[in-house]
Symmetry: D3
Subunit: 331 residues, 6 copies
């Protein structure tokens, strides 16, 4: 398989690929869907402009391009997904065939991506009945697209919106829902269990989804899901397939970002707490951005490819991205 | 039993009783322990100063005094407890005996009350081992007294303190613990489940405790308890016996106070959320002060009378306050 | 303790006691409350008419009377309860004292019994809030008294009534509720889990209650309780204290009555089933009248003495009936 | 993809297709397997008789035929399954190839269907050991085929048969089992939990199965499954793949049929219940035909393609029917 | 209360008390029941021989005697129980009365103790039905007495006996059961879950029982109880009241004895394991004698005073031993 | 399909195949991986040396060879897996093509097999974090390879090793871990629950894995998994894909080997137990080698193809081995 490996230094990638890589690295291109789209486009440009004179050379170029793109932000879950998906479509015995299939695959990926949230929303909306009350956590456009589609289907939906400390993204959710005319009850996160008795669904998005069916999402999701199971309320996760985390198929755990203390405790409040303390060291603040919800507390993951029990999502991951025991550019 | 009923209008109560009643009604006397103490003292004064010339008259006076006190704040759980406890000690065939036993009983109640938190703390501390990590919710002097006693026993204790939105009383807890030199990790309420893996105990106070073993405490307690059970962490409730709610023995449910919306959502944030909404009516905020944790999610209730499984607390209630099918002054 | 044992054959019991015993044995006196009342009355008569010339002789007579009554229907749970309760009140050093206390105790028992269902109803009603939906199983006047009292308190209550095969006592419940104007939804037992999502309470009576907190009630109760827990709906058992089964304090299990096959399968339906069978032996019908619900699936037992978690009911049993390691007449 | 859409009005379908459609609509063809078989046959006839002169025209004809058939009973789960399965096999670049592949695919479907129940029975029988006791709910030929195959393997099987109110299809099951010589114990549905202690398996069929692993089956199945989990008895669902509900892959929930009140409550019994009611409106009867059992309460779904944990059944659905984001005729 | 405290050094205790204390300290008197009996006897002797000339002096002597006895083995649960029980019966205004009541109380305690195991056995036997299969863990004469009584009642009982590593006390149990003719199936501890499907009860003894309902018993009990709950098999703990641990009422946790490594790993086996290790330090053996089973995994505690749900045992402890916030000699 | 069936007696298999079959039958070739490797090699030799003159004849020879190999040890899970895998790769229209593809497929299988444990170890290691404590049961080279790979990644790992009665294979695990320098705490199986509080993972191997997600592994695994769930500790099963049991896809249950009594109870210990028994028949020893852990108690199965929730493993089985409704040689 050696000839398929990018030989660093000797294979040139197109300038457009380098530009895209720079833009991703510098955060000029950001957001899961935007990054994925740009990466697929870059590979298509690379395929189009390639001057490779042999199939092997063409493949090396494409893999080098993929590697270049990947290394800008290896923890962005949608980036390797885009690369894997496109490279898995690179097929043929001639340069022309390889070029054509690669470009077509990139095109397909980008078209699907554009449609994905709408399609996901329609699928998720099918789980909601007229008159249902939905409890939300944090802010997720995938989750909101389900409610939007349900409203378009003429269903009446009400929402109980958790404010989602520390950053209160629940306010963004509430604002969007109110814009659509959805009646909203805002509660602090601590009040969730009490109001679960009035909810028909818990509906959240996902930061990423692991092969063992775990859902990585905004801190507080797992505690909510445990309570929802105890109260008999089904939990529905809305997540496009670019959120499926292929590295987890090989056992990788998802690194949880730890955010700044100040989000939780502004300096003046900290000063107040430690005012009479013997020293200042003994007070720490832990501020993880996400937590991990095991599959047994989730009822369905809704993607643009359909809904899945969390225990089956690995099958979709294998279908879309292959077995992924290698690096993204080695598929 | 008619002669034991206070005959309104015809029986005078001592001026001191009236003053105490006024002070409770006007919130000049407040706080569960302070109210209970004042009520017991008032009954003792009534007993001391009574000019009753027959046992029946004496009893009528005392019951009228109790009724007067009770009606100032019928939802304050410690008030009827104090009244019931003292009146249950009023025994004897003569006015002299009735006076003596009533005064002694009131004295006993007040002495016990003064010692209660310290004793409770020592009992609760016995459940904590050297090196344990305790997760707290809200602020409770009963709960803190357990940690204080453990520190006095020479145990090292660490704390994970939930901030406890909306009012962040966790900051008060953190401040007290830091003053005692306890290492504190502060987290948002949403992060509780993640940090339960590092906790050896969940330790909370109680607003009141019901006969069916339910614990009424600061909103968020029940959701925390459900997660603690799921994570295998025992839940310990620290509550003096004046928090036992005798009315619940007869099935009464505890009324949950709904607090002001502004605590959760300041006007400017509200304005932001509804900025693009078709109307302003669709956004409500629910801000319950407390929630109800069923006994199956609690491992022990620690009182100054010892520790109890929550399912057994009714036995202690019966022992202290009787069967309570009647009004507090009818015991 | 020998002198306290009834010496059969040598001690006469009053003719009225014998008559009552006969009436119970012949089912002329039936129903838990009626039997208990008659037994207590018979003991009072025996006490009144006793010609005993020594305290020991008096006690022997009373115990013999109790034994005579008990042996008519030893499995009727309310019968030994009445006997134990009255005999536990027989106190004093003289025949006169023994007579007086016994009669007073019997009187107290009968008065309490008369009031018990009403008091129980008021206590149970306190657990119901205005607008609640209650799911019922079988027919129980104790359970219905809770709804009746709630209606009298001005609360609106709706009911989901399980028909309760095989004898469809749910129809009796439905009829009573409709008479009171309560909106009723009738469902087959199989539909219970589906409609639990719309219920705020499961409310049932009890045939008897065991010292380990188990509730023996109409077949189907335990399956309903398991589902109620899974759906997050609290289960409330309404049962007067005469239903507490003292023998279970000493580990006795409650014998479950097996009823006639025809209640489940009329002969013509049976004939149809076995029409093409190789033989007729292979089809049996099991028709138990009751089943056993463990305490962990019950939230509260409501009695006229207050409400109790099922795990605490043994305390009430000990309070009312003593330790019961002996026979009912040996208390 | 426009050219693949049936253009209503301009494309003729064969008269045989129209006849089959009529027969399905008029319920002359009924039963999941019979409908599926007829639909596949109709597509084969359409393929055989097609006079299309271009591949596009042929495809349009077939899709129009499928649409015609589908619209007769869009809620019959086996109908779209048959259509999707056959159309997914329509492949080729020429009319001849398209015809051949379509006919072959239809043939394959029909052959498989004929064998499906026998194969399923053999697979299900493998889960049963000699001497096992099986508890059944309702009547299902798929479930019975497992017992039949076990008997043919020489295993001794006993059955506890729930009568399954309101329609008592348990009697049909009992009759079939007795015909095979299987010892049967018939119980009312309320007695299920008690007899679960004597059962080694719960074995039921399915009305349909959803992509999230939920099993839609005769009302009472979900309550039984919850109790079986609590009692430690595994639950096995026997269902041919024509019961897999492809629409649920896109989030659709299965509509639950509500049946006539009289099945539950004959008019004379109703009259009796409302005899003393203030009005007749307050009594309603809810009679849902099915309920939904979540996958966590089911251990295995047995199909003719093998056994699956319910959480994996979506994989089989995708394999057989594709992603189904479009209509059945658009596969 | 000062006058009730033993004033060390100035109050003499009888030589017999000193001898008994020595015998307990030197382990010449050992075993829970034997220690308790000796302690009660010693107090009776002290009472009998006391030369106190005032009630206060008498009480001081008795308390000093109790303290002397207690301090020999403060962790032996039955010792403080005996002391508390006897001293709680010391009542009266004169030396004569105090002497008489104390002696009578000690006598009562000793008589009860002698009968306790038999009575407990009869109560426990009532929970066993003819034909039941009982799974045992370790060796407990209290547990065995239940089986013995059941056999005497003519019931057929079978046993599944866990061998109970590391010391295989299951062999002692098996030997006793075989002596009684009970069919025994011996299994390793690892096989317990598999054979729970064939068991009707789990029956174990207790080293001690805590006020929060926890059962301290031979290591492995808690894991067995968790599996028994999961398999639907009830767990019954047989324990005389001398096993109730009064210190736990005030929150004390029970110290778990850690036993010698050699019981688990003989030196030659250890040598084999570390043969190729870089060093010998990295292998440790943990050998706790007991573990703690929370009340939610236990169905009933059977004592000679009746059976109790574990959550109610604190009530019995309070009844027998008082509130125990003081030392055993201060009751 | 008749022509695909081996016609016994008339089709010769190569002598090398017969030799391999003999070696497997005589246990000269043993161990899951060794058997699988030998079987694949034998098929490759058969393919290479075949003198078949038609594709049909070639296929018949290969299938006969497979059948010959299979029948030597039909319960060895890896044997049919190897045969199915290779035969599924036999493709082509000519003898040359069939030979080439078969040999290539056998080669692929053998190469993968050689790499499988290392790859599995790397995947499993990804689930372990630096500093984690792992609890093990029995001895599994697959499980150990995960720890080995974690150590190679520079992570510090500690182990709690259950001794695993009756054969104490935990000692082998402990020895290996100590050789690698891993700190080991050895405990008896009974102590597992107590030490789960200190473990971050339970890590076990598997004897085989069933299509319904059940894990068949050394006796004691299921009880450990139930406790791990209750304590909140994730359970990870390490198993190469040759352990996937294809027969279970068609419902077959895995036969559990019952081993010799002497492993549990040496004759001298038996003699001791029955010394005073009325007869020797009443003592039996049950010694199952394995037990079955349901998927709901397992968090992930780690294979060389990636990690899977147990509920999804059937998908991998179908991918690798096909639908397996036929015999291994009929794929």
């Amino acid at each position: 398989m050696n000839e398929n490996h990018p030989s660093d230094g000797t294979v040139d990638v197109d300038a457009a690929v380098v530009d895209t890589a720079d833009d991703i690295a510098e955060m000029r291109i950001r957001g899961a869907a935007t990054i994925a789209d740009a990466a697929a486009e870059a590979l298509a440009i690379q395929a189009e402009r390639s001057d490779a004179d042999s199939p092997g050379a063409f493949q090396r170029q494409l893999r080098t391009a993929a590697k270049t793109l990947y290394e800008t932000r290896p923890t962005a879950v949608s980036l390797p997904n885009a690369l894997r998906y496109v490279l898995r479509g690179m097929e043929g015995e001639t340069v022309a065939d390889l070029r054509e299939t690669t470009i077509a695959r990139a095109e397909e990926f980008r078209t699907d991506l554009e449609q994905a949230q709408v399609t996901l929303g329609e699928i998720g909306a099918n789980r909601l009945r007229d008159g249902d009350v939905v409890m939300t956590h944090c802010h997720s456009t995938d989750a909101l697209s389900c409610i939007e589609a349900a409203l378009e289907d003429g269903k009446e939906i009400e929402a109980i919106v958790k404010e989602t400390r520390p950053r209160k993204q629940g306010h963004i959710t509430a604002r969007q829902l109110r814009e659509w005319g959805v009646p909203v009850t805002l509660v602090v996160d601590n009040a969730a269990r009490r109001y679960l008795d009035e909810a028909d669904h818990v509906l959240v998005g996902a930061d990423s989804i692991a092969a063992d069916g775990s859902v990585i999402n905004k801190i507080g999701t797992s505690g909510l899901a445990v309570n929802a199971r105890e109260r008999g309320v089904p939990v529905m996760v809305a997540a496009q397939t670019i959120k499926l985390h292929p590295d987890t198929m090989t056992g990788q755990t998802v690194e949880i970002e730890m955010r700044a203390e100040e989000e939780v405790l502004p300096p003046e409040e900290r000063a107040d707490i430690v005012a009479d303390a013997p020293n200042d060291d003994g007070l720490s603040v832990e501020n993880p951005a996400f937590d991990v919800t095991p599959p047994r507390h989730v009822d369905a993951i809704v993607t643009e490819r359909g809904q899945f029990p969390p225990e089956s999502i690995v099958t979709l991951m294998r279908e879309l991205f292959g077995e992924t025991t290698g690096e993204p550019w080695e598929v």
